[in-house]
Amino acid sequence: MREKATTLYIGPQHPGITGNMMVKVQVEGDTIVKARTEVGYLHRAFEKLQERRNWLQSFTLLCRFCVPEPDPVEESYARAVELLEGREVPERAKYIRVLMLELARIGSYMLWYGGQNGSLGLYTMGQWSVGDRNYILDLFEELTGGRVYHMYIWPGGVRRDLPEGFAEKVLRTMDYLEKRLKDYDDLMFDNTIFQKRTQGVGIISKEKAVEWGVVGPVLRGSGIKSDIRIDDPYEVYDKLDFIVPTHEGGDIWSRALVRRQEIRQSIRIIRQVIEQMPSGEYYNRIPNPHKWALPKGDAYARTEATRGEVGMYIVSDGGVHPRRIHFRGAAYVHGITLLEDLLIGENVADISAIMNSLGTCPPEIER
C-alpha cells in the first residue's frame, strides 16, 4: 500500500542542496513529516588512501576534505603531527597560520552568503559576495599558488614566507571588504523579507544544541558561547583580542547574525596579526619525507572552522606511513541526524535555507 505522504527527493541533483547529498523528505501539504538524509555520494575513502601514502603525501589529500575551507583541515593535521612528533613551530609561522585561517574563514563565509541567500532567492547577494570572495582567493593565490587548494600550512610551519608587500595587500582587501559588508547588510539583514523568511525557522534550542553535540556558529547561534579559539587556544589566538559573538534564538536569523559578526572579528584578528607578526624563521624543516617516520602513538588536534570544530586524529605505528588518519568533520554531527530531526514540521520552502544555515558540507561528512 502506498503511503499517503508524498516523497520529495531534495538532492543529489537539486539546486537547493549544499553539495552532493540527498534529503528524502515526506511531505503532507508542504509540511515535512519525515526526513531522511542520505550521504556517501562523495565518499572517496581518503583515510584509506592516506594509509598508503607517507606522512607528507597524505597531506595533499587533506585539503580535499572540505573544499570551501581547506585550511583548518591542514592546520589540524599539521598540529596533530607536530603534537605527535614534538616538533616546534616558529613564532612567525604561527602568525601566518592564523592569518591564513582567518582569511579562509572570511572566504568561506562569503561563499555562505551566496548559498544562504541563494536558497532564499536573493541571488544578487550571492553574486556580490562570491565575486568579492575572489579578492581573498587572489591573496591565497599570491601566497600559496592555489586558489582553492593551498597545501600551505604543513607540519613544522608554513610552506613559504609572505611575499613582499603582502601585508599591505591584505589590509587593503580588508578595508574593501569592510566597505562591502555594509552593502551586504543593507541588502540582506535590513531586508524585511529576509527577516520574515529566517526568523523563527529551523530553531535549535539550547538544550537541543547541547544534546546533539552541535558545534561552531550553529551552537553560538543558539546562545552558547563556545569557540575552540578561546576554549582550547591554538597557535597565537590567546594573544589576540577578539570576541566570540553569540545570539539567542537558534533560528536561521541568529546563525546568520553570528556569521556576520564573525567576519568582522576575523578582519579584526587579521589586522592584529599583521601588526604583531614577528620576523624570523617560518619553517622548521622536516626530514626527507620518504624516510620521515613519526613515533608510535596518537594525537588529536582540533581547529575552529566556519562550520565548527574540525579535528584530526592521527595514529602512528612508528612507520613512514600513517596507521590511521581520521578526520572529524564539523558538519558530521548536524549534517545528518540533526537535520533529519530539524526538518520535521518545517515548510518545504525552508529546507534549503535550513541546510545552508547549518553550513552542511557533504564532502567532509563522507570524505
Binding site: H43, A45, G86, Y300
Partner: protein, 189 residues
Amino acid sequence: MKEIKENIIQRIKANFADAAEKNDFKDNRVDFSVKKETIPSILFYLKDEMGFIHLSHISCVDWLEEGELEVVFIVWSPKDKIKVFVRTRLDRDNPVMDNVDMIWRQANTYEREMREMFGVQFTGLVAPEEFLLEDWQGPPPFRRDFDTAAYAEKTFWHRPGREDAQDVRETIANRDGEEIPDFAKKYSR
C-alpha cells in the same frame, strides 16, 4: 592543569577499576584504556558527573597484526578544558560492543560509519544498514586487509599512460588536431 588532570585520573580510578591511565602528554589530554564492557558506564560517568559534555570524536583503528580493533572516544569538558581519550580493544574477528548513542546523539553517525567501514557491530544501534556505500559487496573497506589499490585495479578502467607518466596534453592535443609548441614539448616527459 596538572592538578585537574590528577583529579580526573583519581576519580576515574576510584570508580572504574579496569581503567589504565596514561598521562605523559604535553597538551591538555588524559588517556584511559578500559575493557569494552566498561565503555557506556565510563562515558556516562564522564558526561554526567564530570562535565565532559562534548563528544569530540570517535575513531576506530585496525591493529591487524594484533588481531584487534581499537575504538577511541575523545570527550571534552568546556569547564576543565581537558580532553579525555577513552579507548578500548575489540576482537577483530568478532567486534561487538555496546551502542552509546543514548549518551551522545551524534555518536549514532560515528557508529554507523564504523559498522560499515570496520564491521564493528553495536548492539542496539537503530539506523539504516547502508551509510556511505551503496550495494557494497566486499569486506569492510577500512580494514587494513582490504587492498584498495588492487580492488580499484580490478574493478575500474584505468587510462593507460599513468604508469609511464605520459603527458595527457599530448593525447588531447592530438585528438583535437592542435599544435604543441616545441618549447612545450621539452617539458613533457
